[in-house]
């Protein structure tokens, strides 16, 4: 193999005139993070709402929630990405569709990508939220209700604070997933980290350096997220409880 290694490539100018290749990669990282964080906000919000309605005593609400989760969980992410990008603007009212199609780059691709990742992940978050709520004893909800709290108040003050604490670890992995899944957005021309690495490879022919950098950056981001999650877990631990949401056991009596 006659591969010419060149680790200094990162500091060379990219022919697209935007700066060094390293700069290209960091801009890509910026888009990856923006995509992941915005989609995560949508995923958490929708996921909590859908997860909650799947546990309420109202059967028709539960069915809607179940259908939502099945829909977004069972269609491949790549297909969903294409649906949001190519099909969604055709399905909404014409005026809105035209407005979406005329959004200047990169927003025309970025917005559908955020919506796609957000809804896709919200189905998975909803599943966790439902499991978290169902893992609480039935008596917790009853105790809230018996005190005169309404159903929304019972969720808000009694059930969700505990359920969300319990599911912090799986939510952490979902956040890691959303970062990885954001690479799928390159198929609709969002120039996130993976797309930036590919651009670097195409301009410089340094395929190993380009994807080594991308790999290292993904790993570092993962590491930061994992450390942050640990911090959060420690912060929200409930004194006197053992298990995923509990802190260290009390010392003696």
């Amino acid at each position: 193999m006659h591969y010419h290694w060149n680790w200094r490539i990162y500091w060379q100018q990219s022919p697209d005139g935007s700066g060094t290749y390293l700069h290209t990669l960091f801009v890509g990282l910026g888009w990856t993070l923006a995509l992941a964080l915005l989609a995560w906000a949508i995923a958490l919000l929708l996921g909590i709402v859908v997860g909650v309605i799947r546990t309420t005593p109202l059967r028709w609400l539960e069915r809607i929630g179940n259908a939502y989760v099945e829909l977004f969980r069972n269609i491949p992410l790549l297909v969903q990405m294409f649906l949001w990008y190519f099909v969604m603007p055709e399905l909404v009212p014409t005026a809105l569709g035209d407005w979406i199609k005329q959004m200047p780059p990169p927003w025309g691709a970025f917005v559908p990508a955020v919506l796609c990742l957000g809804t896709f992940t919200s189905a998975r978050v909803a599943e966790q939220v439902r499991a978290g709520i169902n893992s609480l004893s039935r008596g917790q909800g009853m105790a809230g209700t018996a005190l005169g709290l309404t159903l929304p108040q019972t969720y808000r003050y009694v059930l969700l604070p505990m359920a969300l604490r319990i599911i912090v670890p799986p939510l952490g992995s979902e956040f890691l997933n959303i970062i990885k899944n954001s690479a799928v957005a390159l198929t609709i021309n969002v120039v996130e980290l993976t797309a930036s690495a590919r651009a670097m490879q195409e301009y410089s022919f340094q395929v190993f350096e380009a994807f080594t950098a991308a790999t290292v950056i993904y790993l570092l981001v993962n590491l930061v997220v994992v450390l942050l999650m640990r911090l959060i877990e420690r912060k929200i631990a409930v004194p006197g409880l053992i298990g995923p949401s509990g802190g260290p056991a009390p010392a003696g009596h």
């Binding site: 004893s137 008596g139 917790q140 009853m142 105790a143 809230g144 209700t145 018996a146 005190l147 005169g148 709290l149 309404t150 108040q153 003050y157 009694v158 604070p161 505990m162 604490r165 409930v238 004194p239 006197g240 409880l241 949401s245 509990g246 009390p250």
Partner: protein
């Protein structure tokens, strides 16, 4: 205060309650006992509408529990309930447990709620534990906090569902003492319990349930003196020998 008229309830095709009728007058203490699965918890949960029922009528302070027009949260706020497994909210401190519903349901100010909570906590002998989380308290302490939490709402009646049966024996009395004191102060109480010592001390009436029916509904003296049904006699001899 609590009137239960011909209540029947089904889980699917399984009938849990069969035409149960009884009443608890103001200031009266009624103990409900019976074998496991006889429907005691279900009956007591019907009283504040935690469980729906298909037939009959329950009135609390004249308000119909089963009427869809009734504002159930408002009615429930006036009925205290204590559960077998305490059901304190684990992520809140003791004082937060005591103030939550006072503030969110009754609309009291945080200060007023806290003052009320502290007074009741003192009454159950746990003032020093206000800033602890429930997980750091013993079972008996948790149950006393749960009673204080219910009392914070100034209830017109208290419902107890086996409040001592999840406790280690040495903690049962600290909870029963609080309940006895409450009974002696004239609180209207409906207690599912097998603590016959408690029943003898403070109950006015004892109800015996079996297979979803109220088999016996007698004054305390009648119940302990000469239970009429054979099932109640057998049940009594079993638990009194423990």
């Amino acid at each position: 205060m609590i009137e239960i008229k011909d209540i029947s309830k089904w889980y699917g095709t399984f009938q849990v309650l069969t035409q149960c009728s009884t009443r608890v007058s103001k200031g009266e203490v009624v103990v409900v006992c019976g074998p496991s699965g006889s429907g005691k918890s279900t009956l007591i949960k019907c009283v504040n509408g935690l469980e729906p029922f298909q037939k009959g009528e329950i009135r609390v302070d004249g308000i119909s529990v089963g009427d869809p027009k009734t504002n159930l949260p408002k009615l429930r706020a006036r009925i205290g309930m204590v559960f077998q497994n305490f059901e304190l909210f684990p992520h809140m401190t003791v004082s937060q447990n005591l103030t939550l519903a006072q503030v969110k349901v009754l609309g009291r100010s945080q200060e007023a709620a806290l003052a009320k909570g502290m007074a009741l906590l003192d009454r159950v002998g746990l003032k020093a534990q206000a800033d602890k989380h429930p997980g750091n308290l013993s079972g008996g302490q948790q149950q006393r906090v749960a009673i204080a939490r219910a009392l914070c709402m100034d209830p017109i009646a208290m419902l107890f569902d086996e409040p001592t049966s999840a406790l280690d024996p040495e903690m049962i009395n600290e909870v029963l003492d609080v309940m006895v004191q409450l009974a002696q102060e004239g609180m209207t109480m409906m207690c599912v319990t097998h603590e016959m010592g408690f029943a003898r001390r403070v109950a006015h009436r004892v109800i015996f349930m079996d297979h979803g029916s109220i088999v016996e509904d007698a004054t305390k003296d009648d119940f302990f003196g000469k239970p009429r049904s054979e099932r109640a006699q057998q049940f009594l001899s079993k638990i009194l020998h423990h």
